[in-house]
Amino acid sequence: MNRLVRRFFASILLVWAVFTLTFFLSRWAPGSPFQGERKLPPEIMRSILSYYHLDRPLSVQYWEALKKTATGDWGSSFKNPGIRVSDVIGQALPVSLTLGGVALLESLIVALVLGTWMALAREPVKGILRALSALEVALPSFLLAALLIDLFSVRLGLLPPALWNGWRSVLLPSFAMAIAPSGYLARLFATSLEETIRSPHYQAARGRGIRPFRLLLSHGWLLSLNAVVSILGPVSASFLTGSFVVESLFAIPGIGRVFVLSVTNRDYPLIMGTTLVYTMFLVGMTLLGDLIGEWIDPRVRAL
């Protein structure tokens, strides 16, 4: 319990540090949210800057932003005045979570099946499966997405090429996102499963005459699952970043697109909001992965 509380506070500190870094990084980048095609007269520019408190010293701005963010007020967008950051994120996040969740599920299923097969297969097949998983890792998601759109939407007309309407538009982007991580996870799982199979407890269970299926499932599989679960945090966070690319390609109104747009527009409140959501997600998922990992294999806790 004590440990959990400590981790919780460490996570809050981490989020604060990310907030600080993002704040200064985004202000450091050249450009301003109010630079449009047309040059604004200096007095109007000045009044806009003073309205948003952008004419004050950076330290003052930082304290204001920190106080506001900590009390749950994430402000409103600079680029589209009146639209609250929390509303933008509230609309975009469910989309990205659905997409990322489906992609995570797909890649886990592929990884576990491929990984198990890889660990159990004999040499020629094993080599082919390894090469296959390497190929998966080497396929950039944007390339796969482009090919999928061309094949299934343009040529065959089976699935929508873009936008977000119903379950049919989840299939292509989630698949494009799932392939590379699934190859990576499959290798990780296979290596771990091979190790478990070589271990004494597995061989002992085999010696006791436990049926192959049960043996594999409860003596091999469950323990090896830890290799996958322990990197659940970075993996699921990479689904959120992976979605930055795939979402722009499929024109999906998710958090990735909001993020890319906010950075190119220097929409400071929106940059802060999306980055914080990403960080909290990463931290939360890492914690969850560690907890599940400990539950599966209590030996991890001793480390």
Partner: protein
């Protein structure tokens, strides 16, 4: 733009040697190809010839056809390969160097210092990679230099973690205690004992980082956040090919095949070296 932890290779016979060899072979082929750009075609990769807009492969004088501005695909591909490989190797080198420095410092000093460095690394790791890259690109312009800096600064954390772990292992070795007990200076310890023993790991990490750099560049450029248009790289070529896809699928196919092959080659090369050296 993967930030997943490195999987150091496991023991495995057979196919390994063949794959490693083919990786090296393809890698050297790419290097030769990209070191002699103009010798291949003699055509300017940015020269436009309106007579050949979207010409198919096999057109006389343009072996791989031309793009939507009538630029020769082959010469764009060759000069793009040079750029992408250069960026990949630079990103690999710099991010490995930063990571090695950070990890070595952290593992060698230990204690509070180690804790602070590792916490800082976690903060950097918790920032979205694309945020770091985009902001640095905005600050530094859209040239090759900017891409290298952005990707190196965004991608050294995995290296630092591995190097720190290896350093901690070396610290426990008897030869290190022996060196320390006869009064070797810290500098001597680092250069005569830590670095030589870290070298194989560093080289393998470098080989894993290079494809990371190539992939990062192509992703950024494909999104339009990387190199700006007249320049060619695998990323910008894929971007242009993607825009003309229904009409002329081959424009996308050439750079796409090269990216996948290059990533595979480095992966196999790195894995077979890793197996030999780190086993």
């Amino acid at each position: 733009m993967s930030r997943l932890p490195f999987v150091l290779p496991d023991r495995r016979p057979g196919l390994q040697r063949v794959l490693g060899f083919s990786g090296v072979l393809f890698f050297s082929l790419l290097v030769v190809l990209s070191l002699l750009p103009s010798a291949w075609t003699g055509l300017d990769p940015v020269a436009q010839d309106t007579r050949f807009v979207l010409a198919p492969p096999g057109t006389s004088g343009h072996l791989l056809g031309c793009d939507f501005l009538g630029r020769d695909n082959l010469s764009r591909l060759v000069s793009g390969s040079t750029v992408s490989l250069f960026i990949g190797v630079c990103v690999g080198l710099f991010s490995t160097l930063i990571g090695a420095f950070w990890g070595l410092l952290s593992g060698y000093r230990g204690g509070m210092f180690d804790t602070v460095l590792m916490r800082l690394l976690e903060v950097w790791y918790a920032l979205p990679e694309l945020l770091i890259a985009t902001i640095l690109m905005l600050a530094l312009g859209h040239g090759i230099f900017a891409v290298v800096v952005a990707l190196s600064i965004g991608g050294w954390m995995g290296v630092a973690r591995v190097v720190r772990g290896e350093t901690l292992k070396i610290r426990e070795q008897a030869y290190l205690e022996a060196a320390r007990s006869i009064g070797a200076s810290p500098l001597r310890l680092v250069f005569r004992h830590f670095l030589p023993n870290l070298l194989p790991v560093l080289f393998v990490l470098l080989l894993f980082r290079i494809p990371g750099g190539i992939l990062g560049e192509s992703t950024l450029s494909f999104l339009g956040l990387g190199l700006s248009p007249p320049a060619s790289s695998w990323g910008t070529l894929v971007n242009e090919g993607w825009k003309a896809l229904p009409l002329t699928p081959w424009i996308l196919a050439f750079p796409a095949v090269l990216i996948v092959l290059a990533l595979l080659a480095f992966q196999w090369f790195g894995e077979s070296l890793g197996k030999r050296w780190l086993g």
